[in-house]
C-alpha cells in the first residue's frame, strides 16, 4: 500500500513540482492551499506524512502544526516543515512544536527531500 502524503502549500507551482516528484516515487499525494483546509484534510484523510509550509494565508504553519499535535486523533502524524523561513528561531520553534524535520526549500533539491521523507518512513518500520 503506497503511503499518503499531504502537501500544505499555498504556492501552486511549487506544490505541482513536489507532487510530480513524489508521485514519481510512488506516493499518493493530496494538497491543501491554506491552514484551515490543511487541518481538515489531515483529519479526514489521515495521511502518513504532512509536508507543511509556514507562510500560509489565514492561520500560519506554526498554528497548523500546533493544532495537529494537540488533536489526539492526528497528533501522531509525522510533519516535515518545508519552508523558506530559515531563521534559527523558526527552526527551533518548528521542532519544539513537534515537527519531525525542518527543511528549507531553497536549500534542498526535490531528490534530497525525497530522501528525507524516506528516512522518516524507515524510522517507522
Amino acid at each position: 500500500m503506497s503511503r499518503k502524503i499531504l502537501i500544505i502549500e499555498d504556492d501552486l507551482f511549487l506544490r505541482e513540482l513536489m507532487s510530480k516528484k513524489l508521485v514519481g516515487e510512488g506516493y499518493q499525494i493530496s494538497g491543501a492551499t491554506d491552514g484551515e483546509e490543511g487541518i481538515r484534510s489531515v483529519k479526514s484523510e489521515k495521511p502518513d506524512l504532512v509536508l507543511l509550509d509556514l507562510i500560509l494565508p489565514g492561520i500560519d504553519g506554526f498554528e497548523v502544526l500546533a493544532r495537529i499535535k494537540q488533536d489526539p486523533e492526528i497528533a501522531q502524524t509525522p510533519v516535515i516543515v518545508l519552508s523558506n523561513l530559515g531563521q534559527k528561531e523558526d527552526i527551533e520553534r518548528g521542532i519544539k512544536l513537534g515537527a519531525v524535520d525542518y527543511l528549507i526549500k531553497a536549500h534542498f533539491t526535490p531528490g534530497e527531500i525525497v530522501e528525507k521523507i524516506a528516512s522518516v518512513f524507515s524510522k517507522d518500520i
Partner: protein, 509 residues
Amino acid sequence: MATKEENQLSLLLDDLTALEEYIHDLFNFSPLPICFVSPVGVILEVNPAMEKVSGFKMDEIVGEPLEKVFKKEEIGSLARETIREGFVDGKELRFFPKGGEEVVVQVFTRTRKDEKGEVVGYFLSLFDLTGIKKTEAELKRIQTALLNILEDTEEARRKAEEEKDKTQAIITNFTDALFFFDKDHRLALMNPRAEIFFKIKKEKVIGESINRLYELPELRALIKFLGEGIEEVSRKEFPLTEDFILEVSVISMKRDSVDLGDLVVLHDVSREKMVEKLKTEFVSLSAHQLRTPLSAIKWSLMMILDGDLGVINKGQKDILEKTYQSNERMIALINDLLNLARIEEGKYALSLAPADIVKICQSIVDLSEESFKNKGIKLRFNKPAKKTIQVLVDEEKLKLVIQNLLDNAFKYTFKNGRVSLSLKEIDKGVRIEVKDTGMGIVGKEQKRVFSKFFRTNEAVLVEPAGSGLGLYMARNIIEGHGGEIGFISKVGQGTTFYFSLPKEKIAKA
C-alpha cells in the same frame, strides 16, 4: 619755750621727711612712665620708668623741653589741649627714645593747679603701644588671611554649589531614568524620568529600603531584576512591559575603596528593540519572498535534470546545469545577505550565552565529515586538553564562522588534501585554527580577503558559487565578540585561518 617750738618743728620735719619718702617711693615704684612738665613744656621731673622708656637718665632729661622726645607739632597741640581742658586721655603720639626707633605711645596728661586755680604744670604719662601695635598689626594680618581663606572658602563653596547645580540639572534633565541607592541600599535619589517610567512620585520612595520598595507594585519588577545586592551589570535588557524595554546598567560608585552607593541607569530601548524586531521580521519575510521563486526554479531544473520530466539531450543538460548553478549562487547570496543583515546591526545582533566551544566545534566537524570524505580530503579535529571549555558567545553566529572557515578549506583544497580544525585554550582566551593544504591565497590579493563581496579570481575559478561575504561576516562576528581573526597563506601550500576569543568571553567554569 624754744624746746617746744623746736619739738614741733622737729616733728613737722619728721612728717615732712616721711611724706617725702612716701612720694618718692610711689613715684619711683610706678611702672608707668611719669614726668612732670612745666606749663611751658619743660620736663621738670621724671620717674625711673620714664628714664627707662626714654633712654635718658634724669639729669639728661630734666630741664629739657618735651620736644626732646616728642615731635614738636604733636606735643605742642597736646600741651595746648592739656592746659585748655585740664587733661588729655589717651592721645596717640610718636615717641623718640634716646638711640632707639620711634615708638607709638598713648599719652595721658593732667594739670596741677595752685590755690588760685593757676596751672603750675602737668603730669604726663605714656603707655607704650608698641606691643599693642604689633598685636594690632598681627591681628590685621590674621584678619586679612582669614578673609582670604573665607573668600577662598566662599569661592570653593560657590563652585561646589555650581557643580551641585550642574549635577542636579544633569540628573533632572537626563533622558534616562536614574536611581541612586546609598551604601545601605536605601533609595537616595530618583530623577523625573524615573518617575515617568515607573509612574511613581519620588517623595513616596526616597529613603526607603530595597525590601520596602519591593512591596510597591510599581517597582517590584525592577527590584526583582536588580536583586537585593544590586549587583553591577552592564546594559542588560529589562522588559518593564512587552512594549517597553529598558536597558539597565548598574554602576557601583566607589571612592578610595569607600562604598558610596550604586547608580542605576535605565535607557529606553523600546524603539531600538522595535526596530530590531521589525528588521528581523523584514529580513525573514524578504528571505522567504526571495527564496520562494528561487526554490521553484531550483526544483524545476533539478527535476528536469533528473529526467523526471522526460529525457533531455546533452546540450540541454549542459545549459540547464549552468542555469542551476546560477540559481544556487543566487540562493547562497540571499543566505549570506540575510545573515549579514542580522550581524551588521552591532550589539543588538549578538546574544551571548554560555556554551561549550568544544561541543560547538565537534558538531560542525561532525556535520562536515561526510562532504570531506566524499571529496577525499582528510578532516581532523585537534581537540584541546580539556573536555569542555565554557565560553560566553553567540552560538549561532560563532557556528557560522567556523562553518565558513571549514567550507572555505573544503572548497579550495583538492582531493588527498588535509584539513584540520584545532582548538586550544590560550592565555588570553581560546584559539581556533583551520588549516588546509589547499591552493593558498595569492600574495597581493591577501589584503582584500576580508572585504565585502571579495573573491579572488582563483577562487571563482575553483568554486563559481560563492558570495564573497563569508569572511566579511566572520570578521564582523569575531570582532563583535572582542576577538581577533587572521590568516597565513602561501600559494600552492595551503592556508591557515585562525581566530581568538578573549578571556572575558570565557565564563567562569
